[in-house]
Protein backbone atom coordinates (compact mmCIF):
# COMPACT_ATOMS: atom_id res chain seq x y z
CA UNK A 1 0.00 0.00 0.00
CA UNK A 2 1.34 3.41 -0.98
CA UNK A 3 -0.86 6.47 -1.15
CA UNK A 4 0.20 10.02 -1.80
CA UNK A 5 -2.52 12.34 -0.71
CA UNK A 6 -2.77 16.00 -1.55
CA UNK A 7 -5.33 18.23 0.14
CA UNK A 8 -5.79 21.77 -1.00
CA UNK A 9 -7.98 24.77 -0.36
CA UNK A 10 -8.13 28.19 1.25
CA UNK A 11 -6.45 28.92 4.54
CA UNK A 12 -9.13 28.49 7.19
CA UNK A 13 -10.88 25.53 5.58
CA UNK A 14 -9.19 23.11 7.95
CA UNK A 15 -7.03 21.56 5.27
CA UNK A 16 -4.09 21.00 7.59
CA UNK A 17 -6.20 19.25 10.18
CA UNK A 18 -7.69 16.94 7.57
CA UNK A 19 -4.22 15.91 6.54
CA UNK A 20 -3.02 15.47 10.07
CA UNK A 21 -5.94 13.22 10.92
CA UNK A 22 -5.20 11.09 7.92
CA UNK A 23 -1.54 10.83 8.87
CA UNK A 24 -2.36 10.11 12.48
CA UNK A 25 -4.84 7.41 11.59
CA UNK A 26 -2.32 5.92 9.18
CA UNK A 27 0.30 5.84 11.90
CA UNK A 28 -2.14 4.01 14.17
CA UNK A 29 -2.62 1.53 11.38
CA UNK A 30 1.10 0.84 11.47
CA UNK A 31 1.79 2.57 8.18
CA UNK A 32 4.78 4.73 7.52
CA UNK A 33 3.35 8.22 7.27
CA UNK A 34 4.38 11.80 6.70
CA UNK A 35 2.51 15.08 6.61
CA UNK A 36 3.86 18.17 4.97
CA UNK A 37 2.21 21.58 4.78
CA UNK A 38 2.72 24.12 2.09
CA UNK A 39 1.54 27.68 2.15
CA UNK A 40 1.53 29.75 -0.98
CA UNK A 41 4.13 32.48 -1.42
CA UNK A 42 1.41 34.88 -0.33
CA UNK A 43 1.43 34.86 3.46
CA UNK A 44 -2.17 35.56 4.23
CA UNK A 45 -5.49 34.24 3.04
CA UNK A 46 -3.84 32.45 0.17
CA UNK A 47 -3.99 28.84 -0.74
CA UNK A 48 -2.97 26.22 1.77
CA UNK A 49 -2.29 22.63 1.01
CA UNK A 50 -0.70 19.63 2.57
CA UNK A 51 0.59 16.33 1.39
CA UNK A 52 0.21 13.09 3.28
CA UNK A 53 2.08 9.95 2.39
CA UNK A 54 0.89 6.60 3.78
CA UNK A 55 2.93 3.59 2.86
CA UNK A 56 4.12 0.14 3.81
CA UNK A 57 7.65 1.34 3.05
CA UNK A 58 9.57 4.17 4.71
CA UNK A 59 8.53 7.47 3.24
CA UNK A 60 10.91 9.03 0.76
CA UNK A 61 10.05 12.59 -0.11
CA UNK A 62 7.22 13.94 2.02
CA UNK A 63 6.36 16.41 -0.69
CA UNK A 64 3.44 15.27 -2.78
CA UNK A 65 3.31 16.64 -6.29
CA UNK A 66 1.54 13.78 -8.13
CA UNK A 67 -1.11 12.54 -5.75
CA UNK A 68 -2.79 9.20 -5.94
CA UNK A 69 -5.58 10.82 -3.94
CA UNK A 70 -6.41 14.48 -4.20
CA UNK A 71 -8.91 16.60 -2.32
CA UNK A 72 -9.64 20.10 -3.58
CA UNK A 73 -11.74 22.37 -1.46
CA UNK A 74 -11.78 25.42 -3.71
CA UNK A 75 -11.52 26.42 -7.32
CA UNK A 76 -7.88 27.56 -7.58
CA UNK A 77 -6.81 24.24 -6.12
CA UNK A 78 -8.71 22.34 -8.76
CA UNK A 79 -7.06 24.35 -11.52
CA UNK A 80 -3.68 23.69 -10.02
CA UNK A 81 -3.93 20.00 -9.30
CA UNK A 82 -6.49 18.32 -11.52
CA UNK A 83 -3.90 17.31 -14.08
CA UNK A 84 -1.41 16.23 -11.46
CA UNK A 85 -3.49 13.34 -10.11
CA UNK A 86 -1.94 10.02 -11.06
CA UNK A 87 -3.68 7.67 -13.42
CA UNK A 88 -6.20 5.51 -11.56
CA UNK A 89 -6.14 8.02 -8.75
CA UNK A 90 -9.00 9.69 -6.91
CA UNK A 91 -10.06 13.30 -7.07
CA UNK A 92 -12.51 14.69 -4.50
CA UNK A 93 -14.04 18.06 -5.23
CA UNK A 94 -15.93 20.39 -2.93
CA UNK A 95 -18.66 21.16 -5.40
CA UNK A 96 -20.12 23.86 -3.18
CA UNK A 97 -17.28 26.15 -4.16
CA UNK A 98 -16.17 24.59 -7.43
CA UNK A 99 -18.46 24.43 -10.40
CA UNK A 100 -15.95 23.35 -13.00
CA UNK A 101 -15.92 19.82 -14.22
CA UNK A 102 -12.95 17.59 -14.90
CA UNK A 103 -12.23 16.13 -18.31
CA UNK A 104 -10.27 13.07 -17.28
CA UNK A 105 -11.52 9.54 -17.51
CA UNK A 106 -8.36 7.91 -16.19
CA UNK A 107 -9.18 8.90 -12.63
CA UNK A 108 -12.17 8.61 -10.36
CA UNK A 109 -13.81 11.93 -9.59
CA UNK A 110 -16.19 12.59 -6.71
CA UNK A 111 -18.00 15.89 -6.38
CA UNK A 112 -19.52 16.54 -2.97
CA UNK A 113 -21.02 19.82 -1.84
CA UNK A 114 -19.43 19.64 1.58
CA UNK A 115 -19.63 23.34 2.35
CA UNK A 116 -23.34 23.40 1.71
CA UNK A 117 -23.78 20.26 3.73
CA UNK A 118 -21.80 21.75 6.56
CA UNK A 119 -23.82 24.94 6.39
CA UNK A 120 -26.89 22.83 6.63
CA UNK A 121 -25.42 21.22 9.74
CA UNK A 122 -25.05 24.71 11.13
CA UNK A 123 -21.24 24.91 11.06
CA UNK A 124 -19.41 25.68 7.85
CA UNK A 125 -16.12 24.67 9.46
CA UNK A 126 -16.89 20.97 9.51
CA UNK A 127 -16.92 20.78 5.73
CA UNK A 128 -13.47 19.25 5.98
CA UNK A 129 -14.72 16.38 8.14
CA UNK A 130 -17.58 15.65 5.81
CA UNK A 131 -15.03 15.40 3.02
CA UNK A 132 -12.77 13.21 5.10
CA UNK A 133 -15.59 10.82 5.92
CA UNK A 134 -16.30 10.52 2.25
CA UNK A 135 -12.67 10.02 1.29
CA UNK A 136 -12.19 7.28 3.85
CA UNK A 137 -15.35 5.51 2.83
CA UNK A 138 -14.63 5.58 -0.88
CA UNK A 139 -10.90 4.87 -0.87
CA UNK A 140 -10.27 3.02 2.36
CA UNK A 141 -6.99 4.87 2.66
CA UNK A 142 -7.57 4.61 6.40
CA UNK A 143 -10.47 2.80 8.03
CA UNK A 144 -13.41 5.02 8.85
CA UNK A 145 -13.59 3.96 12.47
CA UNK A 146 -9.92 4.74 13.00
CA UNK A 147 -10.51 8.22 11.71
CA UNK A 148 -13.27 8.75 14.23
CA UNK A 149 -11.11 7.36 16.98
CA UNK A 150 -8.19 9.73 16.38
CA UNK A 151 -10.35 12.86 16.52
CA UNK A 152 -9.81 13.16 20.24
CA UNK A 153 -6.08 12.77 19.85
CA UNK A 154 -5.63 15.31 17.11
CA UNK A 155 -7.89 18.02 18.45
CA UNK A 156 -6.35 19.94 21.31
CA UNK A 157 -8.17 19.40 24.63
CA UNK A 158 -9.60 22.90 24.45
CA UNK A 159 -11.55 21.90 21.41
CA UNK A 160 -12.79 18.51 22.58
CA UNK A 161 -16.28 19.89 22.92
CA UNK A 162 -16.33 19.91 19.15
CA UNK A 163 -15.77 16.17 18.88
CA UNK A 164 -19.45 15.25 18.58
CA UNK A 165 -20.17 17.60 15.72
CA UNK A 166 -17.00 16.48 13.95
CA UNK A 167 -18.04 12.85 14.35
CA UNK A 168 -21.42 13.69 12.95
CA UNK A 169 -19.75 15.36 10.02
CA UNK A 170 -17.55 12.36 9.33
CA UNK A 171 -20.59 10.17 9.34
CA UNK A 172 -22.49 12.48 7.07
CA UNK A 173 -19.59 12.26 4.66
CA UNK A 174 -19.80 8.50 4.74
CA UNK A 175 -23.50 8.56 4.10
CA UNK A 176 -23.19 10.95 1.21
CA UNK A 177 -20.98 8.56 -0.72
CA UNK A 178 -22.73 5.42 0.42
CA UNK A 179 -25.94 6.60 -1.16
Amino acid sequence: MHQEVLMAGFGGQGIMLMGQMLAYAGMKEDKYVSWMPSYGPEQRGGTANCGVVLSDEPVGSPVVTEPTLCVVMNRPSLMKFRDAVQKDGYLFINSSLVDDSVQRDDIEVFSISVTDEADAMGNTRVANMIMLGAVSTVTGVVPFERLKAVLSEVLPPARHSLIPINEQALELGRELVQD
Binding site: Q20, A23, Y24, M27, D30, Y32, V33, S34, W35, M36, P37, P41, P58, V59, G60, S61, P62, V63, T65
Partner: protein, 356 residues
Protein backbone atom coordinates in the same frame (compact mmCIF):
# COMPACT_ATOMS: atom_id res chain seq x y z
CA UNK B 1 5.11 0.92 18.26
CA UNK B 2 2.91 2.44 20.93
CA UNK B 3 5.47 5.12 21.78
CA UNK B 4 5.14 6.58 18.32
CA UNK B 5 4.00 10.16 18.26
CA UNK B 6 3.13 12.22 15.25
CA UNK B 7 5.22 15.36 15.62
CA UNK B 8 6.06 18.42 13.63
CA UNK B 9 9.79 18.65 12.98
CA UNK B 10 10.35 21.92 14.80
CA UNK B 11 8.43 20.70 17.82
CA UNK B 12 10.19 17.37 17.75
CA UNK B 13 13.50 19.21 18.05
CA UNK B 14 12.14 20.96 21.10
CA UNK B 15 10.94 17.80 22.78
CA UNK B 16 14.18 15.97 21.96
CA UNK B 17 16.15 18.81 23.52
CA UNK B 18 14.02 18.65 26.65
CA UNK B 19 14.62 14.92 26.83
CA UNK B 20 18.36 15.52 26.51
CA UNK B 21 18.30 17.74 29.56
CA UNK B 22 18.12 21.10 27.87
CA UNK B 23 16.40 23.55 30.18
CA UNK B 24 17.43 26.83 28.61
CA UNK B 25 16.40 28.07 25.23
CA UNK B 26 17.10 31.52 23.82
CA UNK B 27 15.68 32.35 20.43
CA UNK B 28 14.28 34.90 18.09
CA UNK B 29 11.42 34.29 15.65
CA UNK B 30 12.12 33.50 12.04
CA UNK B 31 10.35 31.36 9.52
CA UNK B 32 10.54 28.36 9.04
CA UNK B 33 11.47 27.43 12.59
CA UNK B 34 8.99 29.39 14.69
CA UNK B 35 7.26 26.31 16.08
CA UNK B 36 10.46 25.47 17.94
CA UNK B 37 10.65 28.56 20.15
CA UNK B 38 6.87 28.48 20.43
CA UNK B 39 7.01 24.92 21.68
CA UNK B 40 9.75 25.75 24.12
CA UNK B 41 7.83 28.74 25.42
CA UNK B 42 5.33 26.44 27.17
CA UNK B 43 7.26 23.21 27.37
CA UNK B 44 10.32 24.45 29.23
CA UNK B 45 8.43 26.10 32.08
CA UNK B 46 6.59 22.79 32.46
CA UNK B 47 9.86 21.04 33.30
CA UNK B 48 11.30 23.86 35.34
CA UNK B 49 13.32 25.34 32.52
CA UNK B 50 13.50 28.80 31.03
CA UNK B 51 12.45 29.97 27.61
CA UNK B 52 13.47 33.49 26.76
CA UNK B 53 12.78 35.34 23.56
CA UNK B 54 15.89 37.37 22.96
CA UNK B 55 15.94 40.81 21.37
CA UNK B 56 17.86 39.41 18.39
CA UNK B 57 19.77 36.42 17.16
CA UNK B 58 22.97 38.11 18.31
CA UNK B 59 21.64 38.41 21.84
CA UNK B 60 20.30 34.86 21.73
CA UNK B 61 23.63 33.24 20.93
CA UNK B 62 25.31 35.35 23.60
CA UNK B 63 22.70 34.23 26.12
CA UNK B 64 23.60 30.68 25.15
CA UNK B 65 27.22 31.65 25.77
CA UNK B 66 26.35 32.89 29.25
CA UNK B 67 24.09 29.99 30.11
CA UNK B 68 26.43 27.38 28.63
CA UNK B 69 29.36 28.93 30.45
CA UNK B 70 27.32 28.74 33.62
CA UNK B 71 26.99 25.01 33.07
CA UNK B 72 23.56 24.66 31.50
CA UNK B 73 22.63 22.66 28.43
CA UNK B 74 21.56 25.62 26.37
CA UNK B 75 20.14 25.93 22.90
CA UNK B 76 19.21 28.42 20.24
CA UNK B 77 17.70 28.07 16.82
CA UNK B 78 17.14 30.18 13.76
CA UNK B 79 17.16 30.11 10.01
CA UNK B 80 19.69 31.37 7.52
CA UNK B 81 19.88 35.18 7.99
CA UNK B 82 19.59 34.73 11.72
CA UNK B 83 22.35 32.14 11.72
CA UNK B 84 24.61 34.58 9.89
CA UNK B 85 24.10 36.99 12.76
CA UNK B 86 25.20 34.34 15.22
CA UNK B 87 28.57 33.75 13.61
CA UNK B 88 30.59 35.94 15.94
CA UNK B 89 28.91 34.29 18.88
CA UNK B 90 29.53 30.77 17.62
CA UNK B 91 33.19 31.60 17.20
CA UNK B 92 33.18 32.84 20.80
CA UNK B 93 31.56 29.62 22.03
CA UNK B 94 34.20 27.58 20.24
CA UNK B 95 37.01 29.82 21.45
CA UNK B 96 35.85 29.79 25.05
CA UNK B 97 35.00 26.08 24.87
CA UNK B 98 31.37 26.37 25.77
CA UNK B 99 28.97 23.61 24.79
CA UNK B 100 25.77 24.71 23.12
CA UNK B 101 23.41 23.51 20.43
CA UNK B 102 22.44 25.63 17.45
CA UNK B 103 19.69 24.61 15.06
CA UNK B 104 19.50 26.01 11.55
CA UNK B 105 16.34 25.31 9.57
CA UNK B 106 17.84 26.50 6.33
CA UNK B 107 15.86 28.65 3.91
CA UNK B 108 16.66 30.07 0.51
CA UNK B 109 19.22 32.87 0.29
CA UNK B 110 21.23 34.99 -0.15
CA UNK B 111 19.98 38.09 1.65
CA UNK B 112 16.37 37.96 2.72
CA UNK B 113 15.87 35.27 0.08
CA UNK B 114 12.77 33.23 0.72
CA UNK B 115 11.23 30.95 3.31
CA UNK B 116 11.27 27.67 1.43
CA UNK B 117 13.70 24.81 2.18
CA UNK B 118 17.30 25.01 1.05
CA UNK B 119 20.72 23.60 1.80
CA UNK B 120 22.71 26.60 0.80
CA UNK B 121 24.19 27.23 4.24
CA UNK B 122 26.39 24.15 4.01
CA UNK B 123 29.59 26.14 3.63
CA UNK B 124 28.68 28.38 6.52
CA UNK B 125 27.91 25.43 8.76
CA UNK B 126 30.88 23.25 7.89
CA UNK B 127 33.59 25.85 7.30
CA UNK B 128 32.66 28.09 10.16
CA UNK B 129 31.00 31.27 8.99
CA UNK B 130 32.72 32.93 11.89
CA UNK B 131 36.32 34.01 12.23
CA UNK B 132 39.29 31.98 13.31
CA UNK B 133 40.28 28.33 13.18
CA UNK B 134 37.36 26.54 14.74
CA UNK B 135 34.98 23.76 13.94
CA UNK B 136 31.51 22.77 14.98
CA UNK B 137 30.14 19.28 14.65
CA UNK B 138 27.33 19.58 12.10
CA UNK B 139 24.56 17.00 12.08
CA UNK B 140 22.36 16.60 9.00
CA UNK B 141 19.31 14.45 9.73
CA UNK B 142 17.07 13.13 6.95
CA UNK B 143 14.01 12.04 8.89
CA UNK B 144 12.23 13.34 11.92
CA UNK B 145 13.33 10.33 13.93
CA UNK B 146 16.90 11.15 13.04
CA UNK B 147 16.22 14.79 13.82
CA UNK B 148 15.08 13.74 17.28
CA UNK B 149 18.00 11.41 17.84
CA UNK B 150 20.56 13.84 16.55
CA UNK B 151 19.19 16.72 18.58
CA UNK B 152 19.44 14.53 21.65
CA UNK B 153 22.98 13.51 20.82
CA UNK B 154 23.97 17.05 19.90
CA UNK B 155 23.86 17.94 23.57
CA UNK B 156 26.04 14.99 24.48
CA UNK B 157 28.58 15.78 21.80
CA UNK B 158 28.61 19.43 22.82
CA UNK B 159 29.30 18.47 26.42
CA UNK B 160 31.86 15.83 25.51
CA UNK B 161 34.04 18.32 23.68
CA UNK B 162 32.93 21.58 25.24
CA UNK B 163 32.18 22.79 21.76
CA UNK B 164 29.14 24.11 19.93
CA UNK B 165 27.23 21.62 17.79
CA UNK B 166 24.93 22.49 14.91
CA UNK B 167 21.88 20.62 13.73
CA UNK B 168 21.09 21.53 10.16
CA UNK B 169 17.61 20.94 8.82
CA UNK B 170 15.56 22.84 6.31
CA UNK B 171 12.06 24.16 5.86
CA UNK B 172 10.70 20.71 5.02
CA UNK B 173 12.32 19.14 8.04
CA UNK B 174 10.91 21.83 10.30
CA UNK B 175 7.39 21.85 8.90
CA UNK B 176 6.64 18.21 8.18
CA UNK B 177 5.13 15.66 10.56
CA UNK B 178 6.29 12.10 10.97
CA UNK B 179 5.91 9.54 13.71
CA UNK B 180 8.79 9.65 16.14
CA UNK B 181 9.83 7.89 19.31
CA UNK B 182 11.48 10.10 21.90
CA UNK B 183 14.35 8.97 24.06
CA UNK B 184 13.67 8.84 27.77
CA UNK B 185 14.04 11.97 29.80
CA UNK B 186 17.69 12.36 30.76
CA UNK B 187 18.55 13.38 34.25
CA UNK B 188 19.43 17.03 34.56
CA UNK B 189 23.02 17.01 35.73
CA UNK B 190 24.91 19.39 37.99
CA UNK B 191 26.98 22.09 36.33
CA UNK B 192 30.48 20.87 35.42
CA UNK B 193 33.33 22.01 37.61
CA UNK B 194 34.59 24.58 35.11
CA UNK B 195 31.28 26.46 35.03
CA UNK B 196 30.84 29.97 36.38
CA UNK B 197 28.36 29.13 39.07
CA UNK B 198 29.89 31.52 41.54
CA UNK B 199 32.69 30.06 43.62
CA UNK B 200 30.39 28.40 46.17
CA UNK B 201 33.31 27.41 48.34
CA UNK B 202 35.74 26.70 45.53
CA UNK B 203 39.25 28.08 46.14
CA UNK B 204 39.93 29.16 42.61
CA UNK B 205 37.67 31.25 40.48
CA UNK B 206 36.42 29.92 37.18
CA UNK B 207 36.91 31.81 33.97
CA UNK B 208 35.19 31.54 30.61
CA UNK B 209 37.38 33.28 28.08
CA UNK B 210 38.72 33.26 24.55
CA UNK B 211 41.21 36.13 24.79
CA UNK B 212 44.91 35.33 24.58
CA UNK B 213 46.88 38.43 23.72
CA UNK B 214 50.16 36.57 23.57
CA UNK B 215 50.25 34.96 20.14
CA UNK B 216 52.20 31.95 21.37
CA UNK B 217 49.53 31.32 23.97
CA UNK B 218 46.79 31.75 21.42
CA UNK B 219 48.52 29.32 19.10
CA UNK B 220 48.81 26.89 21.98
CA UNK B 221 45.12 27.34 22.72
CA UNK B 222 44.35 26.70 19.07
CA UNK B 223 46.45 23.55 19.14
CA UNK B 224 44.43 22.34 22.03
CA UNK B 225 41.22 23.09 20.17
CA UNK B 226 42.64 21.41 17.11
CA UNK B 227 43.25 18.24 19.08
CA UNK B 228 39.58 18.19 19.91
CA UNK B 229 38.67 18.69 16.28
CA UNK B 230 40.92 15.82 15.33
CA UNK B 231 39.21 13.62 17.91
CA UNK B 232 35.83 14.60 16.54
CA UNK B 233 37.00 13.68 13.07
CA UNK B 234 37.91 10.26 14.37
CA UNK B 235 35.01 9.59 16.66
CA UNK B 236 31.99 11.53 15.57
CA UNK B 237 31.87 10.99 11.84
CA UNK B 238 28.74 9.23 10.61
CA UNK B 239 27.19 8.24 7.32
CA UNK B 240 24.91 5.73 5.73
CA UNK B 241 25.11 3.97 2.39
CA UNK B 242 22.23 2.50 0.43
CA UNK B 243 22.53 0.05 -2.39
CA UNK B 244 26.19 0.79 -2.89
CA UNK B 245 27.46 -2.78 -2.73
CA UNK B 246 27.17 -3.41 -6.42
CA UNK B 247 26.75 0.16 -7.57
CA UNK B 248 28.42 1.49 -10.70
CA UNK B 249 27.56 5.04 -9.76
CA UNK B 250 26.65 6.59 -6.48
CA UNK B 251 24.66 9.61 -5.48
CA UNK B 252 25.78 11.71 -2.56
CA UNK B 253 23.09 13.63 -0.70
CA UNK B 254 22.12 14.62 2.81
CA UNK B 255 19.01 15.69 4.67
CA UNK B 256 15.72 16.06 2.87
CA UNK B 257 17.43 15.81 -0.48
CA UNK B 258 18.68 12.34 0.40
CA UNK B 259 15.07 11.19 0.74
CA UNK B 260 14.26 12.36 -2.75
CA UNK B 261 17.43 10.83 -4.09
CA UNK B 262 16.44 7.60 -2.39
CA UNK B 263 13.31 7.58 -4.49
CA UNK B 264 15.43 8.16 -7.59
CA UNK B 265 17.68 5.28 -6.59
CA UNK B 266 14.72 2.94 -6.18
CA UNK B 267 13.31 3.97 -9.51
CA UNK B 268 16.66 3.54 -11.27
CA UNK B 269 17.21 0.17 -9.66
CA UNK B 270 13.81 -0.88 -10.95
CA UNK B 271 14.95 0.25 -14.36
CA UNK B 272 18.02 -1.89 -14.01
CA UNK B 273 20.66 0.71 -13.19
CA UNK B 274 23.16 -0.19 -10.47
CA UNK B 275 23.16 3.06 -8.53
CA UNK B 276 23.50 3.71 -4.84
CA UNK B 277 23.55 6.51 -2.32
CA UNK B 278 26.08 7.79 0.15
CA UNK B 279 24.37 9.87 2.80
CA UNK B 280 26.65 11.87 5.11
CA UNK B 281 24.96 12.17 8.49
CA UNK B 282 27.67 14.38 9.89
CA UNK B 283 28.43 17.21 7.49
CA UNK B 284 31.42 18.03 9.61
CA UNK B 285 33.37 15.87 10.19
CA UNK B 286 32.73 14.79 6.62
CA UNK B 287 32.96 11.03 6.05
CA UNK B 288 36.09 10.02 4.19
CA UNK B 289 35.77 6.26 4.54
CA UNK B 290 32.86 5.51 2.21
CA UNK B 291 34.56 7.48 -0.51
CA UNK B 292 37.82 5.65 -0.05
CA UNK B 293 35.93 2.42 -0.25
CA UNK B 294 33.77 3.33 -3.21
CA UNK B 295 36.30 5.26 -5.26
CA UNK B 296 37.80 1.92 -6.27
CA UNK B 297 34.47 0.44 -7.18
CA UNK B 298 32.20 3.05 -8.70
CA UNK B 299 32.66 4.99 -11.89
CA UNK B 300 31.54 8.29 -10.48
CA UNK B 301 29.65 10.25 -7.88
CA UNK B 302 26.75 12.56 -8.47
CA UNK B 303 26.14 14.97 -5.64
CA UNK B 304 22.62 16.31 -5.27
CA UNK B 305 22.00 19.35 -3.14
CA UNK B 306 19.51 22.14 -2.66
CA UNK B 307 22.23 24.66 -3.40
CA UNK B 308 24.41 25.79 -6.26
CA UNK B 309 27.05 23.26 -5.21
CA UNK B 310 28.59 23.31 -1.77
CA UNK B 311 28.90 19.80 -0.32
CA UNK B 312 30.25 18.73 -3.70
CA UNK B 313 33.54 20.33 -2.65
CA UNK B 314 33.78 17.97 0.29
CA UNK B 315 33.00 15.07 -1.97
CA UNK B 316 35.77 16.18 -4.34
CA UNK B 317 38.13 16.54 -1.40
CA UNK B 318 37.24 13.03 -0.28
CA UNK B 319 37.46 11.46 -3.72
CA UNK B 320 40.65 13.32 -4.70
CA UNK B 321 40.20 12.86 -8.41
CA UNK B 322 39.97 9.09 -8.33
CA UNK B 323 36.65 9.10 -10.21
CA UNK B 324 34.57 11.95 -11.60
CA UNK B 325 32.39 13.90 -9.21
CA UNK B 326 29.51 15.85 -10.63
CA UNK B 327 26.95 18.12 -9.15
CA UNK B 328 23.24 18.52 -9.62
CA UNK B 329 21.19 20.96 -7.63
CA UNK B 330 18.29 23.27 -7.21
CA UNK B 331 18.30 26.27 -4.96
CA UNK B 332 16.22 29.14 -3.64
CA UNK B 333 13.62 26.89 -2.05
CA UNK B 334 12.97 24.63 -5.01
CA UNK B 335 13.17 20.96 -4.12
CA UNK B 336 14.71 18.75 -6.75
CA UNK B 337 12.36 16.45 -8.61
CA UNK B 338 13.42 12.79 -8.51
CA UNK B 339 12.95 12.58 -12.28
CA UNK B 340 15.41 15.39 -12.84
CA UNK B 341 17.79 13.64 -10.50
CA UNK B 342 17.48 10.48 -12.55
CA UNK B 343 18.10 12.40 -15.76
CA UNK B 344 21.16 13.99 -14.26
CA UNK B 345 22.56 10.62 -13.29
CA UNK B 346 21.71 9.09 -16.64
CA UNK B 347 23.54 11.88 -18.36
CA UNK B 348 26.56 11.29 -16.18
CA UNK B 349 26.43 7.58 -16.90
CA UNK B 350 26.35 8.24 -20.63
CA UNK B 351 29.28 10.64 -20.51
CA UNK B 352 31.47 8.90 -17.98
CA UNK B 353 30.09 5.45 -18.69
CA UNK B 354 32.71 3.16 -20.13
CA UNK B 355 35.52 4.53 -18.05
CA UNK B 356 36.60 1.26 -16.51
Amino acid sequence: MSDLQLFKGNEAVGEAAVRAGCRHFFGYPITPQNELPEYMSWRLPEVGGVFLQAESEVAAINMVYGAGGAGAKAMTSSSSPGISLKQEGISFLAGAEIPGVIVNMVRGGPGLGGIQPAQSDYFQATRGGGHGDYRTVVLGPASLQELVDMTYEAFQIADRYRNPVMVVGDGVMGQMMEPVVFPDMAEVTDPPDWATTGKRGRDNFNLINSLYLDPEELWEHNRKLNDKYRQMTEKEVRWETRATDDADFAFVAYGTTARIVQKAVEQMREDGHAVGLVRPQTLWPFPQEPFDELSDRVDGFRTVEMSLGQMVEDVRLAVQGRVPVQFYGTTGGVMPDYRDIISAMEEMMRKVGGRR
